[in-house]
Every structure is written in structure tokens, then in C-alpha cells.
Symmetry: C2
Amino acid sequence: MTKKVTIKDIARELNTNYSTVSRALNDSPKISDATKQSVLKQAKLMGYQPNSFAQKLKKGYSNTIGLIVPRINRVFFSNVIHGVETIAKQQGFNVIICQSNESVKDEEDNVKTLLSNNVAGIIMSISKETQNESSFQEILTNKIPFVMFDRALNNLVSNQVVNNNFKGAYEVTEHLIKQGYQKIIHFSGPLYINIYQDRLNGYKKALADYQIAFNPDFIIENTLTKDKGIAAVEELLKQKVDFDAIFASGDYSALGAILCLRQHHILVPEQVGVAGFANEPFTELLDITSVEQFSTEMGKSAASLLLEKVQRKEISDQYQNIEILPQLIIRKSTQKL
Amino acid sequence: MTKKVTIKDIARELNTNYSTVSRALNDSPKISDATKQSVLKQAKLMGYQPNSFAQKLKKGYSNTIGLIVPRINRVFFSNVIHGVETIAKQQGFNVIICQSNESVKDEEDNVKTLLSNNVAGIIMSISKETQNESSFQEILTNKIPFVMFDRALNNLVSNQVVNNNFKGAYEVTEHLIKQGYQKIIHFSGPLYINIYQDRLNGYKKALADYQIAFNPDFIIENTLTKDKGIAAVEELLKQKVDFDAIFASGDYSALGAILCLRQHHILVPEQVGVAGFANEPFTELLDITSVEQFSTEMGKSAASLLLEKVQRKEISDQYQNIEILPQLIIRKSTQKL
DNA sequence: TGTATTTGTGCAAACGTTTGTATTAAATAT
DNA sequence: ATATTTAATACAAACGTTTGCACAAATACA
């Protein structure tokens, strides 16, 4: 580990004072162009790299923001991270990424780490375990800018960037109806999670708007995995339920449904239309209708919102609530016409 | 932003010197238990958070490592990140993640950022553009521990964690042969990239070992996308090439091949067996034989290796080369028997 | 009782910057 | 020519820690 070059070294070499070097490097108007040139040249020559700790210590703030996600290696979240990174970098900020592993305890640790790293602000999506703000109370009391995305606490007023799940579900259902499907099954996720509740509501509203009676038996609540999708269709067929479409609140269960239908030689979309939700990469590959959630956009929005707050040092009680409009992606699996 | 509590504040409150407070917080043996107690109590009371910049400045090193990947939101890389994070956290290190966006220039910027953040070491996978070490020369001259993973420069001696692509390809091919396939097409990626070259070599070796003549016409070099896979099969059928299996060096092109074959009512695996490489999530969903690369393990290995170097401050010329053994995942798409 | 040792604490320098103020030299005004 | 302003640079303090050294009090040893 060779000794680091400091501004003092440069100053010594140039027979000048290190404050001059500092100002020259920061392009201060008090320094003549000639010296700026020579300092810059010498700095490059000696391979000078500013010591960011010293800078941050002196300045009292860092150009770093924190990002807490439940899991880094999930398509949705890695896209959000990508979005956050993009905006942050544009504005000269670094991002420290933490994962909570869906655990409240880890979440709390992450918050501590970020705070002692003096981040300028924090963006987070809470873990599935998180029921209240105790794990990130310190953010709130420390009063640094804070933005929640996707999953948020509904009883906590804060800056938020969330999806309009209601609308997404409404559009899927509407599309199915317009394609001529009438008996639409809905695979829902656990209804205590608000996003699934919202989607169910969107589905109901669309039915109502098109004068289709809502049938509670058509709601199948499960965990939306591929296997649950298969099992659900298997059961429907066994019970000889009369249906002509499935709107699954998650892509994996939509896939399962399709695989099972195909197994039974039931044509998709001709006999049964199937749509998912989330626009997982495989839906494109398999031509499954789904709903794009613009995860990268969500990350960008969250970062923009946070950095706006950071820049103007406004920790006001003015909270902002940004809604991302999802987009229906129509593919073969629902195109009967 | 409330004023931060410092050790001086604590010292003042306790009518003692701040050096005593510092030592007490660091559990120095020179401090009596009584004072330690009272300091700790007071620190908690006042909500003290150490200023990590001051600490890092003073200590001259940080418990942070840098990670540069081409893209954060790729399944492979996000898994690697996950692995790195896991090990780093275990050992009390933070990770700063950067993405090069497959650009040499960004790569260079990332290196600069990381170095000025005084990271203790750097893990990276080079961009597709990167042909030599110029973009990260500074790491080498600064002599901080450095580990490359997956993509590495073949003419640069360094610590590496790479996949044994040769073996992976060999096993796929061997498996196909053992299933009774004899006329095996190989979709290869660009052969100037070493991983594809390695896979091709593995394929050739397996053929040789099982006394199957190598037919150069069976090698189709493209970019391994879904569309290229479709196009390639379309062409094979048009040319009436006699083949009974396809080993694609990437999963997407394997998928394309399957979709195209299905379109032409050719049964997979009965008439044609198809295998991919990388074990992308969708291969499991669609039952496509592929090769697992243990990306999370790769991240863990890279992090362990780096941290080992970091801990013992050994920047010796002793480089380590860790090989990850890939695993053939046999699924329906190649199970003729 | 006096000296040596241990134990705990205080003092002050240092890490590498930024930045307010002082100083000098040059340029302009009187 | 001298006084005044301006421009460029130098000096020094500060950011919040860690840590070597000095010191005082308490204990041990002779």
C-alpha cells in the first residue's frame, strides 16, 4: 500500500501552500489560471486522489445516499437499484445498498449502518415482517430525508413512490372482457397485503363497470407460485368450473396455469385467456400478457424525490406521494381476437 | 438536521477528557470498568453515533470494499452481489457497488470513485469493451487487494474466481450423447470471448471422447438471443440439416430454438433435445436442461478471497485462481430416455 | 519510609481536507 | 511619487476521531 499523495505533497513540489492547491483543485476564482494549470498538471502527474474522508469530515456531509431493499437479487429490486444508481450518479451521489433479507432486525442494523455513514438520505422498501416504524425510528428522529417505495406502511405519513395496483388490475380485467372473456377467475395473493387487495379491487371494479356479476367463488387466494397456479387449475378442472379466463396477481402462477392448461390440451388463448402481473422477464419470452410495473422508473422517481429533498435541505412536513402508473402489456396469451 | 453528538460533548457532560471517552467506547484495557460503564451510558443517553469519516480519516482505512459489475440488474450479477454482500457483512465490511454499463470509461470512473473512497479492496468483472488493464491500472499501482470474477483478462495475472466453462460444456454434451443424441448442433457466442471458446472446446472434447466426428458446420456462432435461436433453427430446417440435438451456449437461444421447433411441430425432447447454459430462472420454469453457474457462490468466493487478502494485508505476488465447478441441471428438454 | 511499579486519565498531535483571515505584490487611482 | 485598491497567495484553525506520551494517584516492593 504505497503512501497516498496529498495536497501537501503537491504544494511542496510546487513550492506553494497547500491551501492554494486545494483552491486550485476546487477551481476557486481566487486562484490565477496559471497556477490552476500547474497544480492540475502536477496533481495528475503524481496521481493525486482526494481523500474523501477528509473532505466529508470537513464539509460535514457526504454525497452518499442509502438504499434498503428486502433482497438485492430479485428482478424487481435489482431494477429499482439500477434506477436509483442512475439518478444518484447523475447528480454526483453514491449509493450504499443494504438488504434487509425480509427481517426487521436486519432492517434496523441497516439503518444504523447508514446513519453512522452519514448518508444524506435514505430510500427503503420495508421487509414483509415490518409492521411499524420502530426499526427506522432513528431516521425519523434524525430528520434526514426519507423516501419509501413499493411497500410502505399505510398508517405512516411519509414520502412515497408506489404503484397504482388498482389501475393495473382494472386494465387487465377490462382487456380480458373486451377480448370476449366473460368468466374470469382471479388468482390473488394474501389479501392482508395491500397490493393484492388493491388488485382484487381493480378486478371487481372492472367487472362492475362492464355489468358482469362478481362471483366470490372465482377468487382463489394463494401464494402465487408456479405450483399453486398448476394446482389451482387442476382443481378448477376437477370441479368442472366453467371459466374462460384467468387473471393471476402474479406471473408465476399465470405460468403454472398455462402449463397446466396446455397439459390438458386446452388452448390458450383460444379457449382460456391467461394474464399475469409484474411483467417478469419470462412473460415476454413466453408471450404472456402481464402488467409492467416500471421498476427502474420507480427507482429513478424515488431517487429524484429524495435528492430533491436533500439538495434543498427541506425536511418539512410536506410529504410527497408519487404514483407510478403501471402498463398493461398485451401478448398472445389473451389475444383471442 | 440536529447537531451531531461528539465524544467531546460526552466528555464535557462527564467532566472528563475526550480521549478517555474514545478509549472507553473502544473498550480499551487502560480504562476502568466504572468509567466505561458511565461513558457507555451517557453515549446511549445522548444518542451518540460515531462519525465514521473522522474514524476512517484517522485510521487511514475503511471497512469497505468495492464491487464493480457490468450491470446490476442482471440475474447473474445480482446474485453475485448478493453473495459478496453476505460474506462482507459477516466480516463487518460494507460494500460499495458500481456498475460499468459495459463501458470502459465508466469502469475507469468507478475505479477512481472507489479509490478515493479508500476501499480496502476491489472485486470486479470487466466490461465487454475492456481489452486491457488500463482502466484499472490505478488499482494495480495503488496495490490494494484485487479480485476479478467471471470475466477476466487472460493475459493478466491476478486473483480470479472463474467458472470452469470447459467442464460445464463437456458435461452437457456428454449428457446429450448418453441420451442417445448423435448429431448435436452447437450455438456458440462470439468466439473472441474466452468463455464461449472454452465451452466450444468442452463440446469438442466430449465428441472426441465418445468417438463422434466433429462437424464444423454444426457450429453456429451468434449472439445467443432468443431471436437468434429462432432464426438459427429456421435456417437449419430450411437447409434440411440432419440434427437431433442443440447445445446452446446461452439459455435465451435455447429457448428460441425450442419455441421454433414447437412451431414446426417437432417434439422436444423426443425428436430433438435442447440444452442451454447459465440456468436462467426461466429454464426451471420451462424445464429446459441447463448449467448452473453458482453465481451467489461465485460472489461469496470472490469476497472471501478478497477479504483474506485485506485482513492479512498481503499484497504479495501470490495470486490465487479459484475455479467454480458448474453443475449440469438435467430437465425434460433433453430427457429422451 | 522511600522508591519502583502499576493503573487510570489528561494532553496534544495527527489524519487530509476546507475556508476565513492575514499578508504580500502588483495594479490602479490620486 | 504616494496612497489605495485589487489580485494572488500564505497562514492557521477547524472537522471528530485515534493514539503516543506525560502525568498523577494508587499500589507494590525493598
